[in-house]
Symmetry: C2
Subunit: 152 residues, 2 copies
């Protein structure tokens, strides 16, 4: 584990028998929807069915016992995520700007703190037809199936 | 399941074989940090070690396959949650006002979108010494142990 990547807001717990060395962590919110100690990543390693979208994984991939991952995605004006479906569910919470979601034959608008549950098997794409960034948390089970692309 | 409790923003998915009747759901954000179709609940069924705190469960307790629950808590000025610890972890995201967290011997401040990972076994209490409501998401594993009170 690379320690120098982390911010200084990290400290041990006091009930050591319970935590297997896990540490409390505070990820301070910064300008432009970044957080201390969190890096900006590609949306996906490869693919050509998305545009203008980045990812930050806040919690869930550092050896925690959590059964979920909290990720932040941001879509630039004109950008969009892959159009796909999978067995696992999404919980999406809009926290920056506004955007739209294509859910099969339906389209919904998302504004600040609107919260969307995407049921298993629903073809979905998030996109940003507006002039400001569209940012949202997406919470998922840690163990989940791989997405399948939807042919349009 | 009481159907009339829900908002109208609910519709079936299209890949029926995958979803066991689960439906997409949009919980629209409303004034005063409420969401369509979500009821305000007591913080806990009983107890006298907390004050001025309410709960809304957005996602996770309606038969979904999710391995987590997304809850929103709000603490009134002067209020506080129980001082407790447990094996399960918390992920806390401040979305309204600001507040403080006692984490064992430490105290941290939380402001908008600051994100806190509370490791297993950490005695913690969230409280609001300010004049505006302090609201935060708290995401937890669906399966989790019962908290133990900390004697002060």
């Amino acid at each position: 584990m690379k320690r120098n990547f982390y911010s200084s807001c990290e400290w041990p717990t006091e009930k050591k028998s319970l935590n297997r060395g896990l540490r409390n962590r505070l990820f301070k919110f910064k300008k432009e929807y970044r957080w201390t100690g969190i890096k900006i990543e590609k949306y996906k390693a490869e693919g050509d069915d998305f545009e203008g979208i980045i990812r930050q994984v806040l919690v869930g991939n550092r050896g925690e016992n959590l059964h979920f991952h909290l990720r932040y995605f941001e879509i630039s004006p004109g950008g969009y995520s892959s159009y796909e479906y999978h067995r696992h569910e999404h919980v999406v919470v809009c926290i920056r700007g506004r955007g739209r979601v294509k859910l099969g034959k339906r389209t919904i608008d998302m504004n600040f703190l609107d919260t969307l549950y995407i049921a298993p098997g629903t073809p979905h794409r998030l996109y940003n037809p507006y002039n400001e960034p569209f940012g949202f948390f997406c919470i998922v089970n840690a163990e989940r199936d791989r997405p399948e692309k939807v042919k349009i």
